[in-house]
Structure formats: structure tokens, C-alpha cells
């Protein structure tokens, strides 16, 4: 992350000189900082709402029931979480919400899953294998119907926008499987331990 951050800053500086966009870039940097706070604050309400519901589901035992159903396939992907039922069910909820395109619901479940995994993490500032796998498959953004994109295409007058659904589904499935694959391979690389 240190290198990526530095790389983005340095490459931007060089390109801004070449393209003569130094003033625009400076402006955008501070706009970006402002936007970061706006995004975080925008999350409070939705996040609070879903975390409230999750709490009810935890107390009523609904999460355990859900976890039992989906346990077996998930344990193949996250073998370290055998004893961490809460993390497993939040992961399952996160993946299902993402698949259905319910991004607002998916993020709180994902964060909750991270918190559950963090509880059993011996090194609090290092990501565990399960955390990395979970993050990687989340960045692949698996969803069944890309609703936002479809809405943009339709509003711009594409004929039959649904023609992109199947190609998108195939692509995102490939990305999902390869994210899983890379996460599992890279966790064995010594440099990342």
C-alpha cells in the first residue's frame, strides 16, 4: 500500500507537468479530501440502519440458522473461520447482497464480517488470510444484474440494454474465480506473510 500510494502521487505529479494540469490537479486533490469525508458521513445512516437489523438477527438466532445453511461451501474458501460462525454468516450475507446488487446492504455486512474476523486476529494491524480472500472476492464485484449500468444505458437510449447482462455475468464470474485463485496462491508467497 505504501508503494501504491507513493506511485499514484508521483506519477500524477509527473503527468501533471507533462500535460500542464498542475492547477487542476491541486484543486482535485483538495476536492477529493472533502469528498472522502462526505462519503464517510453519507454512510452513517445506512450503516446504522443495517447494523441495527443485524443486531436483532444475531440475538434472535437468525444469523446462526443462516450460517448453518451456507457453512459448508464457505468453509472451503475460508478454512480459518471454522469457529467463527458470526463472520461466516456476515460474509454470506455480504456476498448475497452484492450478488443481488444491494450495495447499501452489502457494505455493512462486509464491515461486520471484518470486525468478526478482527476479533480473532493475533496481529491487529495485519490482515489475515481470510480477510485478504474476502477483500479480493469483494473487489471482483460479483453481481447477477448490473442495475446501475443498465439504468445509464437505458437512459442514454441504447436499444435493448439487457444484451450486456450475459456478457457481464460471464466476465464478473471469471473475475470472481480468479480473485479467489490469486488470493489463495498469494497467501503462500513468503513476501506476503
Amino acid at each position: 500500500m505504501n508503494y501504491i500510494f507513493a506511485f499514484l502521487i508521483v506519477i500524477s505529479f509527473i503527468c501533471a507537468i507533462i500535460n500542464g494540469k498542475m492547477d487542476v490537479m491541486t484543486d482535485e486533490i483538495f476536492q477529493g479530501a472533502k469528498k472522502a469525508v462526505e462519503i464517510s458521513f453519507g454512510l452513517i445512516g445506512i450503516m446504522g440502519f443495517w447494523l441495527g437489523l443485524v443486531k436483532i438477527a444475531e440475538k434472535s438466532g437468525l444469523m446462526e440458522i443462516f450460517a448453518k445453511i451456507i457453512n459448508k461451501p464457505l468453509l472451503l474458501i475460508f478454512p480459518d473461520l471454522k469457529e467463527n460462525k458470526k463472520a461466516l454468516s456476515n460474509i454470506a450475507l455480504n456476498i448475497s447482497a452484492n450478488a443481488l446488487g444491494l450495495c447499501n446492504a452489502a457494505t455493512p455486512f462486509g464491515i461486520k464480517a471484518m470486525e468478526n474476523m478482527q476479533e480473532e486476529n493475533p496481529k491487529k494491524d495485519h490482515a489475515t488470510n481470510s480477510m485478504c480472500t474476502f477483500l479480493a472476492i469483494n473487489t471482483a464485484g460479483f453481481q447477477i444484474v448490473p442495475a446501475t449500468v443498465l439504468a445509464i444505458l437505458a437512459s442514454n437510449g441504447m436499444e435493448n440494454p439487457s444484451q450486456i447482462i450475459i456478457p457481464t455475468l460471464i466476465t464478473t464470474s471469471i473475475a470472481f474465480v480468479s480473485a479467489l485463485f490469486f488470493a489463495k496462491i498469494l497467501e503462500k508467497v513468503r513476501g506476503f506473510k
Partner: protein
Amino acid sequence: MIKILNSLSVFILPIIITSIVTYGIIKKVPVYENFIEGAKGGFDIAIRIIPYLIAIITATSAFRASGAADTIQNLLSPIFDYLKIPVETTIIMLTRSLSGSATLGVLGDVINQTGANSYATKLAAVITGSSETTFYVAAVYFGSVGIKKFRHALMAGILADIVGLIAAIIICRIFFL
């Protein structure tokens, strides 16, 4: 098919919300108190992720505003021409992992430049719909629990993004060319 899925998705959230609360009542859980207890967490999480988001959003904004994507587009255009990939889609490939709102903006640009029914638009739409904003997801999820050492998570995410891009290019060629 899409109509069914669309109307389904309108119902899914309310159904989930109602069933959670109803099941809680059946199991004699004090639903209101627990809801409040859980909802308190929303604020803490939002505060915790702020520094991570500031870092990632300023860095990606700088990258976008510096015209780096245009410079890379110019460098890549001979290769893209050879592979029959529309040059207009270069920027979307570069911004996809960096910024979600920027990507939707770029998708709009591609539609404006090439028309809503062009091959470039279809490819850009598949790329946009098939991936998440890797850096944003990492900042939010790891930020929420204070993880600073991401280990291999980003590398795996980026490699998967690259595979996804290549897959999008090949699959769009099969479907739309």
C-alpha cells in the same frame, strides 16, 4: 426476465427487513433496544474509515486530474488498434479499480463520444458492470477495523481486475463483433 428480476429486487429489501424484525419478535427479542444498540456502531465505523478514504480518494483524484490516463492512452493506442479495442475504452480500464464515480462519468463520456449502440459503449458497460472499485473497497473494509498491512489482498484484487478486463475484451468480441 429482467422485468421479473427488477420487480423482485424492489421486494427483496422490505422482505428481508420485515422478516428479521418479525423473527425477532417471535423469539421474544427486545427488537427496538437491540436495533438502537446495533445502530450506534454506524457512526464509529464512518469515523474510523475517514483517514483511509482521504488517502485513497486524494491519490486517485490526483491521478485522474493529472491527465495520466490520457498519457497512458496515447502510449497504448497502437497496441489497442492492433487488438481492435476501441481507444475510447482505455480510460475506463484505468479508472475502474480506482474510482467508482469517475468510472460512471467515463462511461457517460464513452456514450457521448461513440453513441449508445456502439461497440465501445458495450465494452465499457461490461467492464463497468463486472467489477468493483478495488481501492475503495480496500479502504473501507480494512479501514473499518484499522488494518494497515494489506498483505496480498490488493495484489490479488488487482490481478483479478486485470483478468476481468482481458475476459471482458474477449467476451465482448465474441458477443458483439
